[in-house]
């Protein structure tokens, strides 16, 4: 068949589609709205996932973390990177930052201790940080509600902890912490800032100190750290940089464990995958329902044209060609609906993305699996969501056309023309 001939069948299909304009518009609307609903739903779910991953990894942990192999799960203060002698922290950070997709790396020293002010005492996770490096990895610096990040002899508390011990910026607090030499580290620290990252686990139990001050309190030699937290560009796909980092740091020191958040925040990873799977379910549900409506409309349209098909058959058109016309109609209906749906979905998405609907009057922020979600009805742009929806839509058009096409092929020309 020549190309020109081929095109004619598409034109016939297109014209057939518009013979009953009202019906086609209604049918196409079902598909278009299905598309809009699917795109928005997936965008909304993506928004939640994005926020979960972002809050889960950008607050403190970063997307990749490097620790001594034996640090987890006991988190013993003695299990520092590079063993008891420590390692060349600068070389390690340089090796990490040289990898593609890495946006920052921050060294950390961890300890546990008691923070007291006046008569109040709370247990705290003490985190020794390099304030400048934390900017690229965690939110502590940007989440300061008062003061600044800690310098030598200073401490920054989570707001909930500060409230418990009734400490404000400028106050002195007492720190008591078991040190690495078995002694009890104790000293006075001046509160230089208070942070509020919005995740309870940090706000009520984390205290940040300048790395050197905490090392001194804990009788740890310089060069001994527990962790390097790494941030990467594509936070949902941390495994590629993680693999590169793993190889790079092995050259600096043996015995290190490099893990992406998909490993150390495995519950969050599960939720993210669950939601991604659920997106398909949403698409299948929406278009599954639409498919029946579309098939019904096309069946009627085919039935109405029985005589026409019978004439075409009598004049020598093959059954296959008749069926193909109906399939083409389904495809064209799908593409038309897609265009209409896009015209509707894109501005809507842009609008909602830029103007999230605030539900905080009705629901509180909730934390789970180490992350948190704000009560915002928002959508995240994605390529995947519209792509999946578009594919589902066109597939629906084609699938809906299968039965009508079969019926059209099976028309017995003589009987139909004879009105039997």
């Amino acid at each position: 068949m020549s190309r020109g001939n081929h095109r004619i069948w598409w034109r016939i299909a297109w014209r057939n589609l518009w013979r009953n304009r009202r019906r086609t518009v209604f049918t196409a609307s079902a598909l278009s709205f299905g598309f809009v609903a699917s795109v928005l739903m997936i965008g909304y779910m993506d928004g939640i996932v994005e926020e979960l991953v972002s809050n889960g990894t950008r607050v403190a942990t970063g997307q990749v973390r490097i620790q001594a192999e034996d640090y987890q799960p006991e988190l013993s203060i003695h299990r520092t990177m590079g063993g008891r002698e420590g390692l060349d922290v600068d070389a390690l950070l340089a090796a990490v930052e040289a990898q593609d997709g890495v946006t920052g790396a921050a060294p950390r020293l961890y300890g546990g201790g008691l923070v007291s002010s006046g008569d109040e005492t709370v247990g705290a996770v003490l985190m020794g940080v390099d304030a400048a490096r934390e900017e690229a990895v965690s939110r502590f610096g940007s989440a300061l509600v008062a003061g600044r990040m800690p310098g030598p002899g200073e401490i920054v508390l989570g707001d909930a902890m500060a409230e418990t011990v009734e400490a404000e910026v400028g106050d002195e607090v007492v720190l008591v912490a078991p040190a690495a030499d078995g002694s009890t580290g104790n000293d006075l620290f001046s509160v230089s800032g208070i942070f509020s990252v919005g995740v309870g686990a940090y706000d009520d139990s984390y205290a940040l100190l300048e790395m050197g001050s905490l090392a001194e309190l804990m009788a740890m030699a310089p060069g001994r750290i527990h962790e390097v937290a790494v941030s990467v560009e594509r936070i949902r796909e941390p495994d590629i940089p993680a693999n590169a980092i793993r190889e790079a740091v092995a050259a600096v020191s043996p015995g290190l464990s490099t893990e992406a958040w998909s490993g150390f925040l495995d519950q969050l990873y599960f939720i993210v995958n669950y939601v991604a799977t659920f997106n398909y379910v949403v698409a299948v549900l929406i278009f599954g329902m639409a498919a029946f409506g579309v098939a019904n409309a096309m069946l009627i349209a085919t039935f109405e044209r029985r005589r026409e098909f019978a004439v075409a058959r009598s004049l020598g058109t093959s059954g296959g060609r008749i069926g193909r016309i109906v399939i083409y109609e389904g495809i064209l209906l799908g593409l038309f609906s897609l265009a209409a749906g896009m015209a509707l979905a894109v501005p809507l998405m842009v609008y909602i993305h830029n103007n999230p609907i605030d539900l905080s009057r009705f629901v509180d922020t909730y934390s789970f699996v180490g992350s948190a979600v704000r009560p915002l009805l928002t959508v995240e742009y994605s390529v995947w969501g519209p792509f999946v929806s578009a594919l589902a839509l066109v597939t629906t058009g084609v699938v809906s056309a299968l039965l009508p096409a079969w019926r059209a092929v099976r028309i017995p020309p003589a009987d139909v023309l004879a009105n039997r």
Binding site: S76, V125, G182, D187, Y202, Q267, V369
Partner: protein, 273 residues
Amino acid sequence: MTTSTHDFRDRRAPARPTAWVLSMLAWPLSALVPALVPAPAAAQTDPRVLEIIDEVDRLMRGESSTGRMRMEIDTENWSRSLEMSVWSLGTEYSLIRVESPAREAGTATLKVENEVWNYLPRADRTIKIPPSMMLGSWMGSHFTNDDLVKESRLIEDYDIVISFEGDRDGEQVWEFTMTPKPEAPVIWGRIEQQIRKRDRMPLWAHYYDEDGTLSRTITFEDFRSLGGRLVPARTVIQPADEDERTVVIYLELEFDVGLNEDFFSLRNLRARQ
């Protein structure tokens, strides 16, 4: 959630309530027998044991002493040596202050009857050890805070019998076996102790848990005259399941130094002398 939480799990394995540890720290002779008033309730205890205890008790009652000691702690992760000054009065009062290393100098512990306070000089804080921390390590050693206060309760909490009397390796000894009384608030299943007859010096004590498994051993060594009295100058405490130990060595001891209860005050706990 999986956010890291850091805790104190690297602390020494909690040691257990036991007897006479203060004795080893501040009162070497009473290590033999902690307690003092022959306990009327000790119906099951061998009368000969009470006799021995009473004899030592008469020797020690109301004694004040002062001295210096070195504590060497070896653990899987670190080793550390402290020199400390010690003052004590009977078994109820004691004050121990770290002299070196500089990092810890001034850190002090005050024990008055059943209560223990720690003083942290850098933070200038006095902390009363709460009941929940009594089983925690004392100054990172294999002693617990509880070891400091429980030493006078042995006769009250245990039935003590002489399980062996005679020759061991050419030395005439007694071996005591102590089993807790039914309602006694202790966690040891059994304590065994060997004492040599000739000078009533303790040689070792074995602590067993409730399943009868050896939990720790205390060995007394280097018997010598300090301050005019024979004492075990070296005491070694060793957990059974770890290759770790704490050794306490008396460097100097003086007796009858004329301390009274007033000396053992929170003010003196904080004073650097």
